[in-house]
Amino acid sequence: MAPPTPSPDRAASGRLPHAFTTPGSSSFVDFLAGYAPELLPGNRPVPAAEVSAPHGTTIVALAFDGGVVMAGDRRATMGSMIASREIEKVFPADEYSAVGIAGTAGLATELVRLFQLELEHYEKIEGSLLSLDGKANRLSTMIRGNLGLAMQGLAVVPLFAGFDLDRRVGRIFSYDVTGGRYEEHDHHAVGSGSVFARGSLKKLWRPGLDAAGGVRVAVEALVDAADDDSATGGPDSTRRIWPVVATVSEAGYLRVGHDELGDVVGEVEAERRASHADRGGAR
């Protein structure tokens, strides 16, 4: 056995290191854990004191006939400050799934990048896609690896949704900081505004929604969350910054276009404005 020096054979003569040609798992995370563990987010030293870093907030997901919608607002906060008003928190995990992340923004985006790579790596090595449950379980393992940082207030809480190619339905999974994985039925929300978004989803979601109806319900839920939660950003009509909304169905991951979303936001706002029109507001 070679002595356990840091980064063995990495510079050896430019040839591919033995770790690369060793047959093993199809998981990129497992490969990194063996070859370059310092690149894994969970393997870094845990900060001694609490760290203040930007936090991402509300993500909602709901099922419709033949798929799921996932949407996230665009705000990141740091304490009582707005750290970003155009951060994106909903991403394609692969062609048939989406992941949205609430919690520490820096760790979350890194985790998403690793998760996307994990799925693509498996697909390239094996020549086939992981099952939706398999993808959900991989995410669970990765969240568990982050527990040390979560204890220091750097938690990452994802929401995962995808189109199940075997069952032909959209499914939603939620997680806790310890990596617990829970399948949600019909709809779910995570993040600071999730309490209000969930209430909204409960009243607005109904069976048999189509994709456009699902997008509308998701936007309403985010508007309701932004109404009551200061860390959730509503649609910004001044700068024309809309939430990130995506559908995942048989056709794959499709982000709803800027103009199309602008129309939906416009309708929601117009409707709400009309309901306050004759009362002159609270003066």
Binding site: S13, L16, P23, F28, L32, L39, R113, L117, K124
Partner: protein, 252 residues
């Protein structure tokens, strides 16, 4: 006490090279051809699962002939190399040139230091935004690298098939034309008694790096799509009459 026989280095290298060449020549050929919108790969392969052509990264693909376990091992190493590099730096920073170098060093080291050379020949190809940006590297069992333009043949009867491709290939062919050419050439390798064959679509493994696709350019062509591409054109024009060149892209 027995002394090992002296073998001259020339003889040693020659024996190894002969050994590797023999192993490689036993397999079916793989052809790689540039076309107007990308790079096409084709080989005769009845298996749906044991691929000779694979995706490495967004715009990089891999094709191999020789011993399956050896090139599969190199393929997996290439995917790990590319994914690790893309994760540490950026997706843009993964290049076919870097990968070809790593493969060349690996093949070269194994050839000179290990008891048996790898019986493989590889192509690493990267599709560019323009045809001029395409890169095709061919790597031999001893680690030598060649930067190829236009087309490459690897495997048994590579010389004969290369000659046929040289006659049929020219820049700016369409996908349909290069695939017809590839299948004709692969069929010309003949069966055991040297007769020309026509290879049915089910026996072919065909993939492309399509430069028009947004991120992952690699795509396998199978089933009805492949049959349609290989079907004779409706006007019955033989491939020897070149169609009018595609209109020049408008500058913008």
């Amino acid at each position: 006490m027995s002394m090992p026989f002296y073998v001259s280095p020339e003889q040693l290298m020659k024996d190894r090279a002969d050994y590797a060449r023999k192993g490689i020549a036993r397999g079916r050929s793989v052809v790689v051809l540039q076309y107007d919108d990308g790079i096409a790969f084709a080989t005769e392969n009845a298996s749906r699962a044991l691929h000779k052509i694979s995706e490495i990264y967004d715009r990089i693909a891999f094709a191999a002939v020789g011993k399956y376990n050896e090139f599969e091992n190199l393929r997996v190493a290439g995917v790990r190399y590319a994914d690790l590099r893309g994760f540490s730096y950026d997706r843009e920073d993964v290049t076919a040139r870097g990968l070809a170098n790593a493969y060349a060093q690996t093949l070269g080291t194994v050839f000179t230091t290990e008891s048996k050379p790898l019986e493989v020949e590889l192509v690493v190809a990267e599709v560019g935004r323009e045809a001029s940006g395409d890169q095709v590297y061919r790597l031999s069992y001893d680690g030598s690298v060649a930067d190829e333009h236009g087309y490459v043949v690897m495997g048994g009867q590579a010389d004969k098939l290369g000659g046929l491709l040289a006659e049929g290939w020219r820049p700016g062919l369409t996908l349909r034309e290069v695939l017809r050419l590839a299948v004709d050439v692969l069929g010309a390798a003949g069966d055991d008694d040297g007769k020309r064959r026509s290879i049915p679509a089910q026996q072919l493994e065909v993939a492309v790096l399509d430069r028009t696709r947004p991120r992952r350019a690699f795509r396998r062509l199978t089933g009805a799509l492949l049959e349609d591409l290989l079907a004779p054109t409706l006007d019955g024009a033989p491939t020897s009459t070149p169609p009018a060149p595609a209109p020049a892209p408008q500058g913008d």
